[in-house]
Amino acid sequence: MAHGHSRHAAHHVNYMAIFWWLLALTILEVAAGYPSSGPAYPHMLKGLLLVIMAVTKAALVAMYFMHLRFEKVALGYIAMIPLVLCVFVVLMTLPDF
């Protein structure tokens, strides 16, 4: 009983640190996203930067706010399923692009 509780109690997350990271990434995202793509700023590069930043932010929220980092691995697998399936959906519709 006690060891079940202590597993959760032991992890103290610095939520404010995560907040600052999220804020910084949001500012960087707007900086990367606001300029329209053009010859000097290829759309692919813009897309790559934005995806990396968005995924990082999403991972921070999932791992720390939603506590996935400290949960049983099986829960992480459940959380990953939609990501895998959505990538699959996009890949399967690629012929239509």
């Binding site: 907040f19 606001y34 959380a79 996009v90």
Partner: protein, 204 residues
């Protein structure tokens, strides 16, 4: 184990798949399904946008400043949510109600700003099937995706308000706060989805 302890707590079978908390597992499974709903909307949007010849540039049409602030607001509300959970885990009922109240407020302001944004865009000529900037599907996908998300925020505001009210009535304690954690999972999910929507619909 004493009689009282045995009556109070059932030892779970320790396997990698046994959750400590069935409610939490249930919410995660629900969120995985919900993520598919959003994923499919975004994937469809990706296909339609890539195959369109006259898709408007979102940063030209949509108000990025306002939506960047809305993103910041939801991130703040996730922080207040997690602080609320932290509070009740320490037995601080007042802290729980305060932080949940702030979370609800953040969500409500987000919805207000979204309503303002929608009104402004509709007034400028962005419709569900047509608009003055190019491909009609731009408006369709915009309203469908942000609307679906907005509905989730609305549901979350109601859900968290109920949790906050129950918290104020003493329903939760340091040993019995799973319901708060589960509600928090839903709220963080809503924030997470918005992070992705903001990136792919507004910025990209």
């Amino acid at each position: 184990m004493s009689q009282a302890a045995a009556a109070h707590h059932i030892e779970p079978a320790e396997s990698p798949l046994t959750p400590e908390n069935w409610g939490k597992l249930g919410m995660w499974i629900f969120l995985a399904g919900d993520a598919m709903s959003f994923g499919i909307l975004l994937a469809g949007y990706a296909v339609m946008r890539s195959t369109s010849k006259n898709w408007p540039v979102p940063t030209d049409v949509l108000g990025i400043g306002l939506t960047a602030f809305m993103t910041f607001l939801l991130i703040c509300s996730s922080v207040t949510m997690v602080k609320g959970l932290d509070a009740i885990k320490r037995g601080d009922q007042g802290g729980l109600v305060k932080f949940l109240g702030l979370t609800v407020l953040g969500g409500a302001i987000f919805l207000g700003l979204q309503a303002y944004e929608w009104t402004h865009l509709i007034h400028e000529g962005l419709g569900l099937t047509a608009n003055k900037w190019g491909a009609g599907l731009f408006g369709t996908t915009f309203f469908m995706i942000t609307g679906f998300h907005g509905m989730h925020v609305t549901g979350g505001v109601i859900y968290l308000s109920i949790i906050a009210w129950r918290g104020s009535q003493g329903a939760y304690s340091a040993h019995s706060c799973n319901a708060v954690e589960i509600a928090g999972l839903y709220w963080h999910f809503v924030d997470l989805v918005w992070i992705l929507v903001f990136t792919f619909v507004y910025l990209l």
